[in-house]
């Protein structure tokens, strides 16, 4: 019986400039114990934990500044509106958009993709046209396009991946046709960790005049993103994977594209003038923000961006790269462990299977050791089918994880293997 709480020694991080001890102190939940063991949280690709700066921001706004936005002339409404619009500018700077009005607040990456599919898609996609995605998309970047194809008679094309989980660029290029109306691909895969060759993808698509949407839900927390340098046409991400609250996400779109798109939902705030005969829509970005938005969530997303900015996205990327390299080296030493997703360019995700243990059993047993990993198909069933596996166990890393926690994970995996014999 080993119920004693293991103390995890925490050395300072590798040479990345990240003071992980200081960062860990910012996340109150990391002091939790699970089944009597210190929490080791490796489910960051599902959602990240929140720093005190974000939690405090939510409390502060509700206690001091809260009212509806874009409505009243009273002080609190003005204050809330100011904070809400400040958050838009923070997002603009964070992904280096040219204009603040190119930032549309939505519930998350999923809603952002649905918005583009139903607004841009319904307008520009006709029967016989094609939408091109990759074989490693999350369901949220498959289903909205299938729905659009069903509505319009268009066809969904899928560019294949190789056994390492890398997009096959030459195949991708062959699938670009004069009927392709939109390319929508993942920036970093949630199931495999692969970072897509987005510069090449965008270049190939643009040479044929095809706009590109990048699903940045996994990329944004792990690397700096510059939408102008990428020259992507749409970029989407969620706040809750970036240390912010759930229920808030971002659609970036180039101004001229967004401007020409019809509204997605009708309601308050998205109009300029309403009569029963005709409605005049509001300007960007409000045209796409019908109804009272997630006010405090948006402001807290701004606080999350301030938080990661203070650490520095490049420092985060370097630190996580070191962690992933360490985790990969250790994992390769475990007999019977197979890493799923071995792309050359990879973000901080270690997806794996064990020869004789199903991922669910791995997940339940590791939880007994205080270790949170995800077990399942990661909302990417076609990826599982490609590798002919029902599921994987996935350890996804964040900036507050440590080398010592990876040791705890690897020891845990060895124990799981032992128990299953």
């Amino acid at each position: 019986m080993t119920s004693a709480i293991r103390s995890i020694p925490r050395r300072t991080s590798p040479a990345s400039g990240v003071d992980v001890e200081k960062i860990r102190a910012d996340f109150p939940i990391l002091n939790e114990t699970v089944h009597g063991k210190p929490l080791v949280y490796f489910d960051n690709a599902a959602t990240t934990q929140k720093p005190k700066a974000v939690i405090d921001c939510i409390r502060r706004v509700y206690e001091h500044d809260y009212s509806n936005v874009h409505r009243g002339v009273h002080t609190l409404s003005e204050r809330s509106t100011q904070l809400y619009e400040d958050a838009r500018e923070k997002v603009q700077r964070f992904i280096n958009a040219r204009h603040a009005h190119e930032i549309v607040f939505v519930r998350g990456a999923t809603e952002a993709i649905n918005l583009v599919a139903q607004s841009y898609g319904r307008k520009h996609v006709k029967a016989g046209d094609e939408i091109l995605i990759s074989a490693m998309e999350h369901h949220s970047n498959i289903v909205p396009w299938q729905m659009l194809c069903e509505q319009t008679g268009a066809t969904l094309k899928v560019a294949p991946i190789n056994r390492n989980g890398e997009l096959m660029l030459e195949e991708f290029e062959k699938l670009l046709s004069d009927r392709t109306r939109l390319v929508s691909v993942v920036h970093m895969s949630n199931a495999l960790g692969t970072i897509s060759p987005v510069a090449e993808i965008i270049d190939m698509a643009h040479r044929r005049g095809v706009p590109v949407l990048l699903d940045g839900a996994q990329a944004v927390p792990h690397m700096s993103v510059d939408v102008q340098r990428l020259d992507c046409d749409f970029y989407v991400f969620s706040g809750h994977k970036l240390y912010g609250p759930s229920g808030i996400g971002v659609l970036y779109g180039k101004s001229d594209l967004l401007d020409a798109m019809p509204p997605y939902q009708g309601g308050g705030d998205m109009i300029r003038r309403v009569t029963f005969e005709k409605t005049e829509y509001n300007a960007l970005p409000y045209k796409f923000e019908a109804g009272t938005p997630n006010i405090v969530g948006t402001i807290a997303l701004g606080a999350a961006i301030d938080y990661v900015d203070a650490i520095g996205m490049d420092a985060i990327a370097r630190y996580e790269y070191e962690l992933l390299r360490y985790a990969t080296e250790k994992a390769l030493q475990i007999q019977g462990l197979n890493i799923i997703g071995t792309a050359r360019y990879k973000g901080a995700i270690l997806s794996f299977t064990l020869d004789r243990v199903h991922p669910h059993d791995i997940g339940t047993l590791l939880d007994q050791l205080g270790i949170a990993v995800r077990a399942g198909h990661h909302c990417a069933m076609p990826v599982m089918d490609f590798f002919a596996i029902p599921a994987t166990a996935r350890a996804s890393l964040a900036v507050y994880n440590t080398v010592e926690e990876i040791d705890v994970l690897m020891d845990g995996i060895k124990e799981v293997i032992e128990v299953f014999g």
């Binding site: 243990v357 059993d361 050791l369 029902p390 599921a391 299953f420 014999g421």
Partner: protein, 150 residues
């Protein structure tokens, strides 16, 4: 190390996971059902041979976790030879106990299946234990579509 979870992962479960019983295709089955748990991707194909209301033979194939494999394996052992009403009754008892609706659990009702009762403490895993049973129920009702736990 895993002492606390031995109520779920008992030796019987490991045994049936390593060596599942009746794990085979049944060529002369008169009922065949695909069971699917969309949350985790577990799949089972259940074969049943029913003759005048009696379960003459039952077998399965598929890929799942230790809990779902052991549950399917144990189920095939136990229901073989039962009539439809007996199997249905056992399913109801098993379902009631694993989904934890009873305050007092009478494990004797479950007989050999009692080793799986521990799953009631792990809500995320209950569907692993009941997938085979949902499939059996569908087979008895002579449904022809794929059934899911959702």
């Amino acid at each position: 190390m895993f002492d606390q979870i031995r109520d779920l992962y008992q030796e019987v479960v490991f045994d049936h996971n390593r060596n599942p019983r009746n794990f085979r295709v049944m060529e002369d089955a008169n009922r065949k059902i695909e069971g699917f748990n969309p949350l985790c991707g577990d799949r089972i194909t259940l074969y049943v041979k029913i003759d005048e209301g009696l379960i003459k033979d039952v077998s399965f194939q598929g890929a799942g976790c230790a809990i779902s494999t052991a549950s399917a394996s144990l189920m095939t052992e136990i229901v073989k030879g039962m009539n439809e009403a007996q199997a249905e009754h056992l399913f109801e008892t098993f379902h009631r106990i694993t989904t934890g609706k009873d305050e007092a659990v009478n494990l004797e009702e479950l007989g050999k299946l009692a080793v799986l009762a521990g799953v009631r403490a792990y809500p995320a895993r209950v569907k692993c234990a009941t997938l085979a049973w949902h499939s059996l129920q569908a087979a008895l009702a002579n449904k022809e579509t794929t059934i899911t736990t959702e």
